[in-house]
């Protein structure tokens, strides 16, 4: 144990508070939000929590804008654990904007009276005692409406707001992490609140809880793989910092088997979070079972965070060994696109269909992430921005189509929706076309940017496969459009709820950005290409 005696006294590393201010604001306010939950009486919590979350996101956005306008080009701080460089700033901005939309959806209490989340604890106990084992079926709408006394306004558990902020803080750390250990901690900080948020639905408790259990067990399994990969790479390189791993890849005396098996396990963990290809099995179940506002948050923000992390790992740490891993990732990308496009065709539930579409999109994103060029980075970043806002708005729209038992997500219930609500059908059509990648929407520009980057980096066969996959995927988006416009509405079909201000704002935000990025993408493309990773 001689090396213990040699250790010199530790010096605290310098911290660049300006650079990490957005991160500190989000995590600090998340702690305050927990205190609010603990000390305020129940009826005051909802307005305070909503205001607190919105103020946090705006303040973090301002701090980010201030730093991006004045700060240096790319730095690392906290002993090189956090890298604040142009891609990080872009991803932070994207995450904050998407979280703003998600918080608006989560906070809405007009669509579902009292909000989509579990009512107070007493009514939950009543549900558990009276209706155990039977929830989740249609026709039991009355039992889970715990409003307290009849004259009281419907309440909801507001724990979901601190969860959202903690998850957001984890995501922001995840995309900025410059070593594997920070990345692992951030992965857990973002995952643990999400597992809980999945299980909070007011309606269809059993589906929601089942989604939470599945997400939790599979997520913990995947993070164990990530961690074992971390350990093997630590053994290979003697360090977990990305730039030093990149040096060790060229010079380490250890066996390459250690590096490659470590990288493989690491990538399994990352791909799981990004719901890529064969590691996607949790995605449809969790998207369907979780409350729709949470699904929106998860689908948009987790995807951004996961691919931000994948980009940094592949580019900074393993860019030089790309010829060794690229073949495997080709197979993963093809599997992801094929699974998403083909199984998506057979889905009968709107939320599951969007989930499989997200698997296909993960394959397209992987194309950009595999291109170790500047175009690869900027294309992927732009894709994440575009995809995030489109998905957010899609789930916002899905939450509005309801019948007596809550959301009507079965595709047959969407038949003839255009006759009942032309506006909603038009918005949904536009968003689905954006997901399919039709020109004049952000989806087209994003796909173009990513495919062009992949083509330039010598992946022409993969681009051809991706084009075929997007053609197949376009079929199931268009099937929904045809169903909405050219079918007769069912007699007892769902009604379209008139959304409150919050949901309207979130959907408008998503639709506007999808449209603007499709027509004038130059500005966002310029930001996405502002610079590369440090290190």
């Amino acid at each position: 144990m001689s090396f213990i005696a040699q250790a010199t006294p530790l010096e605290a590393p310098p911290i660049d508070y300006g650079a990490i201010a957005p991160l500190l604001i989000v995590l600090g306010m998340a702690c305050i939000s927990v205190l609010v939950e603990a000390f305020l009486p129940r009826h005051q919590r909802w307005p305070v929590q909503v205001a607190l979350s919105l103020v946090t996101l705006v303040a973090a956005g301002l701090a980010l804008g201030l730093y991006a306008g004045t700060g240096p080009d790319g730095i690392t701080t906290l002993a090189e654990a956090i890298a604040v460089d142009p891609p990080t700033l872009f991803l932070w901005g994207t995450l904050l904007a998407l979280a703003l939309g998600s918080v608006l959806l989560i906070a809405d209490r007009s669509v579902e009276p009292g909000g989509a989340f579990l009512a107070s604890a007493e009514s939950r106990a009543a549900v558990a005692a009276g209706g155990g084992g039977l929830g989740g079926r249609p026709g039991k709408s009355g039992e889970e409406r715990g409003y307290g006394s009849p004259d009281q306004a419907p309440t909801m558990q507001t724990e979901v707001f601190p969860f959202t902020l903690f998850a957001l803080g984890g995501m922001m750390t995840f995309v900025a992490a410059n070593d594997l250990l920070t990345m692992f901690i951030a992965l857990e900080v973002l995952s643990l609140p999400l597992y809980l948020m999945c299980g909070l639905a007011r309606r269809r408790r059993l589906l929601s809880q089942e989604a939470a259990v599945k997400y939790f067990l599979l997520g913990a399994f995947a993070s164990a793989f990530f961690l074992y990969g971390l350990a093997l790479i630590y053994g290979y390189a003697g360090t977990v910092k990305f730039p030093e791993i990149a040096d060790a890849v060229v010079a380490s005396p250890m066996s390459d088997a250690l590096l490659l098996s470590g990288l493989a396990l690491l990538v399994v963990g990352l791909m799981f979070k990004g719901s890529v290809g064969p590691f996607h099995t949790w995605t449809p179940d969790v998207y369907q079972g979780a409350p729709t506002p949470v699904t929106a948050f998860m689908a948009a923000c987790t995807k951004v965070a996961a691919f931000g992390g994948i980009l940094r790992v592949l580019h900074v740490a393993f860019g030089d060994s790309r010829w060794e891993w690229r073949g495997v990732l080709w197979a993963v990308a093809i599997a992801s696109m094929a699974i998403g496009a083909v199984i998506g065709l057979t889905q009968t539930d709107v939320k599951r269909m969007v989930a499989y579409s997200s698997v296909a999109h993960a394959g397209f994103l992987l194309l950009g992430a595999m291109s170790i060029t500047e175009q690869g980075v900027s294309g992927t970043l732009f894709y994440l921005l575009a995809y995030g806002f489109t998905t957010l708005a899609v789930f916002g729209v899905i939450s509005l189509v309801r019948d007596a038992d809550g959301e009507a997500t079965h595709l047959s219930q969407w038949a003839g929706l255009a006759k009942r609500s032309p506006v909603l059908a038009a918005v949904m059509t536009f968003l689905l076309l954006a997901l399919a990648g039709i020109p004049l929407t952000s989806g087209f520009t994003a796909k173009f940017a990513v495919f062009a980057a992949a083509l330039e980096d010598g992946m022409a066969p993969l681009v051809v496969i991706a084009l075929i996959a997007s053609a197949v995927a376009a079929f199931f988006y268009i099937r929904v459009i045809v169903l909405m416009y050219f079918s007769e509405p069912a007699a007892d079909g769902p009604a379209v709820t008139v959304p409150g201000a919050f949901t309207t704002a979130a959907i408008t935000l998503g639709v506007l950005i999808t449209l603007v990025l499709g027509i004038v993408p130059t500005l966002a493309l310029g930001w996405a290409g502002a610079g590369g990773f440090v290190g």
Partner: protein, 99 residues
């Protein structure tokens, strides 16, 4: 004793944990298998710290323990809540979401 044996042992423990997750039915046992995988990783980290003659592997093991503890809190809460509504913790019975 060469440190390599510890690496082999930890690989074995990790594999036992992974197989356990795949074959066991009870959510609690599945969760214990995941904890076994995390502990196997701890052994790997400490062994590599020894081989490389550096301390940071041991420090990382502490981080992993803290994360594992947090995961237990969240995991047991979720498993408890589904046990209360279903009266079973079998992962085979959680089969409403499919296709």
């Amino acid at each position: 004793m060469t440190p390599t044996y510890y690496l082999l042992l930890s690989a074995l423990l990790f594999a036992i944990g992974a197989v356990g997750v795949l074959v066991r039915r009870n959510a609690i046992v599945v969760f214990m298998c995941i904890e076994l995988m995390l502990n196997a990783v701890n052994l790997t980290l400490v062994t590599f710290a020894r081989i490389n003659g550096r301390l940071d592997g041991q420090v990382m093991a502490f981080f992993v323990m803290v994360v594992a503890a947090a995961e237990v809190v969240v995991g047991l809460a979720i498993i408890m809540s589904i046990f209360r509504t279903r009266r079973t913790a079998s992962v085979d019975d959680a089969n409403l979401l499919k296709y």
